[in-house]
């Protein structure tokens, strides 16, 4: 690549040069996206297609496949455990992403102030992201332990009865979402912060000249300016929430059942249970594809909403 740069700048024939230039304009975008698509073709496409094919078969690991068409999908429709997992994925996703992103936005705004020890604060809120899901979940199951966990001890001091953080549905979901929120808030805050710092100071100066308050500036300058980044975090969090797996798995003691009454079994766990524990690859693949379709649907809705908003805002 470096050679071609030199060739262009050293070339003296203008015709040659403009031809090259045109080729460069046409071809270079494809060259830039090529590494991603090559990598995806090598390691992503086959799994995707293979999974789709598996979902149309009855197949176990190491055995031959038997074509069943859309039977695996049809079965999911009447399956209470699938719907339960879908509901849990939805509620867990909601309570772990919405507060998380709002907090991250506020945190980023605060971190964008001129502060003493700003570097320390920024690193400190990002620190949870450094822990692996396993390590974080390990610590949180200790904290949330109904018998001797610190949180129930603390509640005890306040006169609150011990909360059953694993056997009751909502407490368990709250405990799990707190692991997610803890790990990812600082991460999203940092992403917002990077975007906020790219916002031109002129916009703020103009707003300040118009007499806008800090809050007003935040709402009418910061938020619209970093909209692509907000959109990015929403998409990524939605995907992360839909695929929520490690936290409920480890919270339930490495069991795919997600609690004694499946009170926090997510779609990913349900799929894992089917695919790895029971070995029903076909059905597990069908769940995977349903997850994919749900995500594409959510993505389309989000895109639609965003487009509408942009038109309204005149962006």
């Amino acid at each position: 690549m470096a050679t071609s740069v030199r060739a262009t700048s050293d070339g003296d024939s203008t015709g040659w040069r403009s031809k090259l230039y045109r080729l460069d304009t046409k071809a270079s975008p494809y060259a830039y996206i090529a590494p991603f698509f090559l990598c995806f073709a090598a390691f992503g496409l086959f799994p995707l297609i293979y999974t789709g094919w598996l979902s149309l078969n009855q197949v176990e690991l190491g055995t031959g496949a038997q074509w069943v068409g859309f039977h695996n999908y049809a079965e999911l429709w009447d399956n209470q455990f699938f719907w339960n997992a879908l509901r849990n994925t939805f509620t867990l996703g909601l309570i772990s992403t919405v507060p998380q992103l709002l907090m991250a936005l506020g945190l980023a705004h605060l971190l964008n102030y001129k502060l003493r020890a700003r570097g320390f604060f920024r690193v400190a809120v990002l620190a949870p992201y450094a822990t692996s899901i396993a390590a974080a979940s390990l610590v949180f199951v200790q904290l949330f332990n109904p018998d001797y966990g610190m949180i129930n001890q603390l509640l005890g001091h306040l006169g609150v009865d011990p909360v059953q953080w694993s056997s009751s549905k909502w407490p368990a979901q709250i405990a799990i979402s707190s692991i997610v929120t803890w790990r990812w808030t600082g991460y999203n805050a940092l992403i917002y912060l990077a975007a906020m710092q790219a916002v031109s100071g002129d916009l703020y100066e103009a707003a300040a000249l118009d007499g806008a308050s800090r809050w007003r500036q935040f709402v009418s300058v910061t938020i619209p300016s970093i909209r692509p980044t907000i959109f990015f975090t929403i998409i990524v969090s939605t995907i992360g929430a839909t695929q929520l797996f490690g936290e409920p798995l480890i919270y339930g003691g490495n069991s795919g059942s997600g609690g004694s009454a499946h009170q926090y079994q997510t779609l990913s766990l349900y799929m894992y249970d089917k695919g790895w524990q029971v070995g029903e690859l076909g059905q597990a693949s069908a769940v995977a594809w349903v997850m994919l379709l749900i995500l594409l649907l959510i993505g389309a809705v989000q895109l639609f909403v965003l487009r509408n908003n942009r038109r309204k805002l005149g962006g």
Binding site: S4, T8, D24, T25, K26, P29, Y30, Y32, I33, P35, F36, C39, F40, F43, P47, L107, K114, R118, G119, F121, V123, L126, A127, P128, Y129, A130, T131, S132, A134, A135, L138, V139, G149, Q153, T185, I191, A194, Q197, A198, V199, S200, G201, D202, E205, R214, I226, R227, F232, I235, F245, G246, S268, M271, G275, L281, A288, M291, L292, L295, L296
Partner: protein, 307 residues
Amino acid sequence: MAQLTQPVAPAGSRPSTAARPARRRFRPRAGGAGKQQSGGPVAYLFLIVATLLSLFPLYWTVVAASHTDTDIVTPPTPLLPGSHLISNLRIVWDQVDMTTALVNSTIVAGCVAFSTVLFATLAGFAFAKLEFRGRNALLTVVVATMTIPPQLTVIPLYQIITDVGWVGHIQSVILPSLVAAFGVFFMRQFLSEALPVELVEAARVDGAHSMRIIWHVVFPVARPAMAVLGMLVFVQAWNDFFWPFIALNQQNPTVQVALAGLGSGDHTIDHAVVVTGALVATLPLLLVFAVLGRQIVGGITAGAVKN
């Protein structure tokens, strides 16, 4: 260089303060630094609470790692570090090949972060600022690939690495994640707002070759986002478990794989040892954060004022 950018930065369109001389518009992100307001006591209060909430579980990891398994499950739960850290560490190193694991993880996470940042910036730039046929469709494909659940793709992926003979070797963990859709999307979103299209057009008008634009226009603007992305991807690759556990083994593990070999002895799992292992696995990252993170987060704004 100078001619390349001057047309988009007409001097004096707005009075600039002493702290940010004319260079400000050279890199658009520079503007952020100047407008920063000082935080009041409320801001500090919130940040201190956020810091405490963030750090407490980490602190507790240290506490747990310095006690015995028995101590940490017996109420009242210890709140101060104990005296067993060294002996727990010794057990960790006795039970698994932690040194190899740390080296391997550094290589894996370093390579993955490096190549992801490089390729994602290129692709992100193309998707954000270049016109080409099928751009939107391809971008949709990129985002869609993020939705594939990783727990299931391991089966076909394992088939692939078996066929090429990488089982047990670290390239089986590196190569499939050389560039992530997440990274491409991240850079695309960042550049679409941070890189003014005039800057690219001006360079084009000047007849700059696209590689030149990358070096001289895109990279400087994208540097903070590249740093953030690099850090995020490094951590992600470092903490990845599900796939490496299947592709590697205890002779040639990454840190997370090595952790899976921890704690089993005498028919029971020693949780203090497991937590100590988790601490060992986390410390290098915190160190990277502390050193690099300060540089990065400081650099995002400070760099602008400096030049």
